[in-house]
């Protein structure tokens, strides 16, 4: 599925906050599961691994049941979800961590929580587990702090919509690890640059954006909310222009590395995020259009670059910016 290596193939390699990646395409948390993919399709489906780094689904301190169904439905050029961070909690999660030992790319642990202390405790536990020298663990390069889930109470948006709260969590997390701290930002704010700046100033190595936009879908028959949680988070191509604008704003104002996401379904979409200043990108809803999507997007990105005579992504990064 990857294009054959040929002379003149553009260099897709990027360095994200000091970490070299084979190409810029990651998965958005909660949209791809390496273990489940191997269980369904066999290990061959992960060779080559479809992403340059693997971000598992959000883990929280305690197990979370998640929101009542229905949790997902399609919308015009996108979809809405209100899963509510269903996960087994950090203890059970750590028990399964060795199953990811074979993942051949760096792993970024995505952490959610209801309170700041919960995020920090999860981070501490992962660090403690990684302290024990064990060859049977994946290569965890850092943490993505999910302060932007629109479908849970407390934590989540309550932190990510407030620069001061975001800074406080980021600084505390920063003090606990030498690994990367990536803060995942919400688009549900008036000024995303203020939140990104707070994270960067507090020691974040990178920011990732956007998480989903709070949205509402009605059942056409009953005219009542479709989802069990009533509101949900919108993603898919419908939100790409919003995501691009926010990446563009942050890249114009700050030097913090950016993982751009929101509606990327093609190589050209990915290139647009890079042109707006993103170092890496993530694929979310597109994963649901079929398991071939990520490698197709990587191949399309290479083709787009070749077509434009670009030899590496640095040559195009930030092209859309209008720095003064």
């Amino acid at each position: 599925m990857t294009p054959p290596l040929e002379t003149g193939r553009p260099d897709l390699a990027v360095t994200l906050a000091g970490v070299p990646l084979e190409h810029p395409v990651l998965n958005a948390s909660g949209t791809f599961d390496a273990l489940e993919t191997a269980r369904r399709f066999g290990a061959g489906a992960l060779e080559p691994f479809p992403f340059a780094a693997y971000v598992p689904k959000t883990v929280t301190l305690e197990a979370r049941a998640g929101n009542p169904p229905p949790r997902v439905t399609e919308t015009a050029s996108g979809m809405i979800n209100a899963v509510g961070l269903q996960n087994p909690g950090i203890a059970a999660w750590l028990d399964e961590l060795p199953l990811l030992a074979g993942v051949p790319v760096p792993v970024v642990v995505n952490i959610g929580g209801s309170r700041r202390a919960d995020y920090l405790e999860v981070l501490r536990r992962v660090e403690a587990r990684l302290e024990v020298h064990d060859t049977d663990l994946p290569r965890v390069i850092g943490y993505e702090l999910n302060v932007s889930c629109p479908n849970v109470g407390g934590g989540g948006l309550a932190i990510g919509t407030q620069p001061a709260e975001t800074a406080r969590l980021t600084a505390a997390a920063r003090a606990l690890t030498r690994r990367l701290i990536i803060v995942k930002l919400t688009p549900n704010v008036t000024d995303i640059v203020a939140v990104a700046r707070a994270a960067a100033d507090a020691g974040a190595d990178a920011v990732s954006l956007v998480n989903t936009l709070r949205a509402l879908v009605l059942d056409p028959q009953s005219l009542t909310p479709c989802l069990g949680n009533r509101t949900g988070g919108l993603c898919g191509p419908a939100i790409k222009p919003v995501a691009l604008r926010m990446v563009w704003e942050i890249a114009s104002a700050l030097d913090v590395p950016i993982i751009g996401m929101g509606g990327i379904v093609s190589g050209r979409d990915a290139l647009e995020f890079v042109a707006c200043g993103a170092t890496a990108v993530a694929i979310g809803a597109a994963n649901f259009t079929g398991p071939e999507a990520p490698l197709r997007i990587v191949a399309e990105l290479a083709a787009e670059m070749r077509r434009r005579g670009l030899t590496d992504l640095a040559a195009v990064r930030g092209r859309a910016l209008s720095r003064t």
């Binding site: 191997a38 979800n81 199953l99």
Partner: protein, 336 residues
């Protein structure tokens, strides 16, 4: 009495087939189940071998997990496949797809995720396997919305991008007699069940409930020797629900109840089966996004909490779904 598209004659409640059944169709391939490694690893020493035996090492987390463990190793495929035949039953389409790698490992009760044709962004749609015949799959499609309408309109020689087979199948090993209960389009996977049981000489009775005469045309997409039909409005067959029909028809005290349909129907089947001392399995429907266990978008409330229809199911023990529609302790988060 009315004659359907397919030469089935409806006489009162009962459908008698007037066409000769093709011999030897629908051989199951469960024994060809491939083993697969649970996770990639460059070093074979750290690879975990996911065989049925290997899975037995860990105690099953739950009944649903045990069910899943039994069947989780079949390697799903993903690709584009050619539609080789299309039959219509009113608005419903029965598509035959040449998909040898999917068909080779498919089991009754499993499903595929089908890509909606066209350039727009669409989630794949879960479609259960109506039947498998050699290298071919049959998919019964009800045009419910934009996506399923496009799928139902797929024509012969078009290609269809599919991922599958996915999910657990019906555990049929211990079935000595079967009462198949289907509601609407939910009846789809029960043809495959009937085919496999027929191969094994297990007596099968089917009780299908439809909304009205229009939806009852779906009955003609099934070839089951002992098929009974009811409609809510009584225009075809008995007046009443699938459960009322199943209760009236019966299949003896040894029968396993194997059901598929909308959640309210499954709940009724579960209550009725419990009341008369029958056990069995139900295949559940849900909105899905990934279909492969990643997103947790398709959960159903069960006595064991929210379980994913796509990988923990779609087939669950009949008594597993929570009667209240919410898991014990409530699944509702504080922030709801």
């Amino acid at each position: 009495m009315s004659e359907s598209d397919d030469g089935f004659v409806m006489t009162g409640e009962r459908l008698s087939r007037t066409v000769t059944r093709l011999a030897g169709r629908c051989v199951t391939r469960a024994s060809k189940k491939r083993s697969c490694r649970a996770i990639v690893s460059a070093a074979p020493t750290t690879g975990r071998v996911c065989t049925t035996a290997g899975m037995a090492e860990a105690p099953p987390r739950s009944a649903a997990a045990a069910l899943r463990g039994e069947q989780a190793c079949a390697a799903a495929a993903s690709g584009s496949y050619r539609v080789v035949e299309r039959r219509s039953f009113g608005p419903y389409a029965l598509l035959t797809v040449h998909a040898p790698d999917v068909a080779a490992v498919a089991r009754p009760g499993q499903f595929v995720m089908a890509a909606v044709p066209g350039p727009q962004f669409h989630l794949r749609r879960p479609l259960s396997l109506h039947s498998v015949e050699g290298p071919r799959l049959r998919l019964l499609v009800e045009p419910r919305g934009e996506g399923t309408r496009a799928l139902a309109d797929t024509g012969v020689a078009d290609t269809l991008a599919l991922t599958g087979p996915l999910g657990s199948g019906f555990p049929l090993g211990d079935v000595r007699a079967a009462l198949l209960v289907g509601g609407g389009i939910g009846a789809a996977p029960l043809q495959f069940v009937a085919d496999v049981l027929r191969e094994r000489g297990v007596p099968v009775t089917a009780a299908f409930g439809f909304r009205d005469e229009g939806q009852a045309r779906l009955a003609a997409a099934f070839e089951v020797d002992d098929l009974w039909v009811a409609t809510d409005d009584g225009t075809v067959g008995r007046r009443g629900t699938a459960v009322e029909l199943a209760s009236a028809v019966g299949a003896g005290p040894q029968a396993s109840v194997l059901a598929c349909g909308p959640a309210p129907m499954i709940a009724q089947v579960g209550s009725w089966a419990a009341a008369v001392g029958l056990t069995g399995y139900a295949s559940l429907e849900a909105h899905m996004a990934c279909g492969t266990g990643a997103c947790h978008g398709c959960v159903v409330a069960t006595r064991e909490g929210y379980l994913r229809v796509c990988v923990d199911g779609p087939v669950f023990p009949l008594d597993l779904p929570a009667a209240t529609g919410e898991p014990p302790g409530g699944g509702v988060e504080a922030g709801r």
